[in-house]
């Protein structure tokens, strides 16, 4: 069965430090890949997505992610974290055929220290 793994449940970084959130998927073919962010009490906001083409994708709020086929990974990065980035981050995969619903990882909660 398809699955998405976010191995880090909780990460704490200092403001201004770099950030990398990990995401691995298990699927026979290359899926569509997404990162969403959820602030407390809010819905999910799309940060970025990968459908095809350039494996390094840029998103909103200074985030980027790199698709690595050989590692089945789609890690999210930001060079300098801001206090407002504190939130929960979800990686999700969608598929080219069949069920259109997304499969989500369990999320990584980011805490930013001043």
């Amino acid at each position: 069965a398809q699955s998405v793994t976010q191995p880090d449940i909780h990460i704490t970084v200092s403001e201004g430090a770099s950030l990398e959130l990990r995401c691995n998927y298990s699927y026979g073919a290359t899926p569509y890949l997404f990162w969403y962010v959820q602030s407390p009490g809010q819905g999910l906001q799309l940060l970025l997505k990968y459908f095809s083409g350039d494996t390094l994708v840029q998103g909103i709020k200074g985030f980027e992610a790199e698709f690595k086929r050989s590692q089945s990974s789609f890690n999210l990065r930001k060079p300098s974290v801001h206090w407002s980035d504190a939130a929960e981050y979800f990686c999700a995969v969608g598929f080219h055929t069949g069920r259109r619903a997304l499969t989500f990882g369990s999320g990584t909660r980011l805490q930013v220290q001043p």
Binding site: V4, F34, Y36, G43, S52, F90, T103, F104
Partner: protein, 115 residues
């Protein structure tokens, strides 16, 4: 433009009562999804509507859960005889269905608490 809206934002109910949750998708979006987010969990797919096709109900956890979409727009998720384990945030999303890939846009969710 307006995003996905959901109502109510919060719902508290007693065990055994029925509840209805509403979703208004983005205008023109043909696909609509319901997901459930339990405390500390990721999102769990519930049901998917696409145009006039039969909905994909494969994620509904029990026959107490049902959903309909009227006129290809507004959707209502109904939970009958609610149980405490139904307490969760229910999220709705909509998208345009494209061959090259869909992007789902989410509403703010309805937080359901079953006492």
């Amino acid at each position: 433009g307006a995003g996905v809206s959901q109502s109510p934002s919060n719902k508290v109910t007693e065990k055994g009562k029925d509840v209805e949750l509403r979703c208004d998708p983005i205008s023109g979006h043909t696909a609509l999804y319901w997901y459930r987010q339990s405390l500390g969990q990721g999102l769990e797919f519930l049901i998917y509507f696409q145009g006039n096709s039969a909905p994909d109900k494969s994620g509904l956890p029990s026959d107490r859960f049902s959903a309909e979409r009227t006129g290809g727009s507004v959707s209502t998720l109904t939970i009958q005889r609610t149980q405490q384990e139904d307490s969760a945030v229910y999220l709705c999303a909509s998208s345009l269905v494209r061959a090259a890939g869909d992007t789902q846009y989410f509403g703010p969710g309805t937080r359901l608490t079953v006492l």
